[in-house]
């Protein structure tokens, strides 16, 4: 059995292909899932006449059998042609690429908040297990898990935007620094929800690790607390956090949709919501497809990362 990293990645990518095809089939079927005549759905708000409907049928090959329609669509997807929006007839690919940077930036900023606060707080709570500090952190974690990003967002908007006036209320700012400034409240709102999850996992695995013999031995040898934490315990304790990275990223994605709507930011998430509200099917299909590919690749990435962090996990055991 070959257990080298490149062959493992290659194998995982091969397994991902049928999964992606299945997802693309589901995405394509969305047109037929929408109530009413697909031609009318795809026509959108444009003038409806027998001629335009016939043109739409021709354009999307709606008179062909479902499988043929799907294959034609899939061929276009492979050459990076996701069709045009039914609203402004703009290219879906252009729309997505325009909105993508903001969402990526927001996601990174949000994960910085979630991990930067969640991991230290989880460690702190584990060290002070059972104390008032622990209880406080746990409560904060529960509130984090319970507070959807839009609720946190509204509170932040009111307190820091309206009441104290420290942060701008709307817009995404111009220039890099101003943009960071504008996206700080959204990033905190986004990170807060995910932070709850990170606290929970870090705390639980730290408590478990700290009870192990090697920690007692290290203490007996007179190593400093800091040394024990950073060089030994943390390495082991963070493995569950990496495992949960999938959940964390999915949480960030969902949160990003809510946060972008709350703060009126023109990202991919708010584009998804507008197109869902307007039933702009080509745009919805494009976004969902991009997200699906991203998530599938991310899961492979996490598994690779996982094996790199913990050499005990053999590639052969991490089956798809």
């Amino acid at each position: 059995m070959n257990r080298s990293l490149p062959s493992y990645v290659l194998r995982r990518l091969l397994v991902a292909i049928p999964l992606l095809l299945l997802i693309s089939l589901g995405v394509f079927a969305l047109v037929n899932l929408a109530p009413g005549d697909p031609a009318r759905s795809l026509l959108g708000s444009r003038q409806s006449s027998p001629e335009t409907l016939a043109a739409i049928r021709e354009q999307y090959h709606l008179d062909e059998p479902f499988v043929v329609q799907y294959l034609i669509w899939l061929r276009q997807v492979f050459v990076w042609d996701l069709g045009r929006s039914i609203q402004g007839s703009e290219l879906v690919t252009t729309m997505i690429l325009q909105r993508l940077p903001l969402t990526i930036f927001l996601g990174l900023y949000g994960s910085l908040v979630a991990l930067g606060l969640g991991i230290p707080l989880g460690i702190l709570a584990a060290y002070r297990h059972g104390s008032e500090v622990d209880r406080g952190v746990v409560t904060l974690g529960v509130i984090g898990v319970s507070a959807p990003a839009f609720a946190t967002g509204i509170f932040l908007l009111y307190v820091f935007g309206v009441y104290l006036g420290w942060f701008p209320i709307f817009g995404q700012g111009e220039g890099p620094l101003d943009q960071v400034w504008h996206l700080t409240l959204p990033a905190i709102a986004l990170g807060f929800t995910v932070m709850g999850l990170v606290i929970k996992i870090t705390r639980a695995s730290m408590i478990e690790e700290l009870q192990k013999d090697y920690v007692a031995f290290a203490r007996a040898r007179g190593l400093t607390s800091r040394r024990i934490t950073t060089s030994y315990v943390l390495r082991n304790a963070l493995i569950p956090v990496v495992t949960a990275a999938g959940l964390i990223v999915v949480g960030l994605l969902t949160g990003a949709v809510l946060v972008e709507v709350t703060f009126g930011l023109p990202g991919l998430g708010s584009l998804l919501v507008t197109s869902v509200t307007q039933r702009d099917l080509p745009v919805i299909q494009g976004i969902v497809l991009i997200l699906a590919i991203f998530i599938v690749l991310m899961h492979i990435g996490i598994d690779v990362l996982y094996t790199l962090i913990d050499p005990r996990i053999r590639f052969g055991r991490v089956e798809a």
Binding site: L19, L22, L30, L33, A34, P35, R135, T139, V142, I143, V145, S146, A147, P148, F150, A151, T152, I154, F155, L157, Y158, V162, A204, P240, T243, A244, G246, L247, V250, L253, T254, V257, L258, V261, T262, L272, V273, V276, T277, R279, L281, I284, V288, L291, A292, I295, V296, H299, D303, Y306, V318, E319, A320
Partner: protein, 290 residues
Amino acid sequence: MKLEETVPSASIPSSIGEAALVRPRRTPVTVWIAMAFVAMAIVCAAFGRQIAPYPPNEQDLLLGDSPPSAEHWAGTDLLGRDVLSRTIVGARTALVGPAVVAAGAFAIATILGLWGGYVGGATDSLVMRWVDFMFALPGPLIAIVIVGVVGGGFWTAVAVLVVLFTAPDTRIVRSAVLEQRPLPYIEAARTLGIPRRRIMFRHIFPNILPLIAAYVVLDFAFALVSLAALSFLGLGVPPGTPDWGRMLFENRTILLTNPMAALLPAAAIVVTAACINIIGDWTYERMSAR
């Protein structure tokens, strides 16, 4: 994909007798507060219209949006509707939907999990493939897309969430069943020739029920937040319904004139979900206590 680790790997009590022998610790104050608050929310859900000072949909267009006053403790929204009354009445949709989601998902998951864990076979591997597939998907985003494209509002949203929640729940039930399977009492029951269905539902099920109960509570909280998110995006409940998520969506534009119109329902969502999570975590800890 390596997914097993993401499910909290708590030790399931090997038998209920063993868990009960450990004297439960005193119930923490936070749990009492959480229970009191949830009880209050349930009362609001049941008798909201009687408790609320104003009918939730009574408009006062001349008044419009106004800050908190003696007549309207939490002020009014753009149509002059009383925010406090709408929040109280909103408890109903906030609690009924998640209750259906949590109960429905676990009813299906219990059957699939019992079958998969005890009988196994082709059905089991098929179900677990499906569970793995669902696990890789961002549930809430799928709910947004499907509810938005298919339409149908609140109950479509509930149905989609039931399907999405069933997958992880099945995994939980199945792994609990797998722990029970090799135990002597099951072997004894099998030796006695008790039919499979009877062993599954009369012998295994009661033993995994406490664990299921804890997860139902946690599911409930997650469903509440998810449904609120959908109505915040304008999906789910129809316009005009007194619903917490919907109120946030409608009133976030009047944050400057009457902040309470958005902050009160936001607080209602967070506090209710937090209280239910506290109760769920506590139940879970008690059930998995060594």
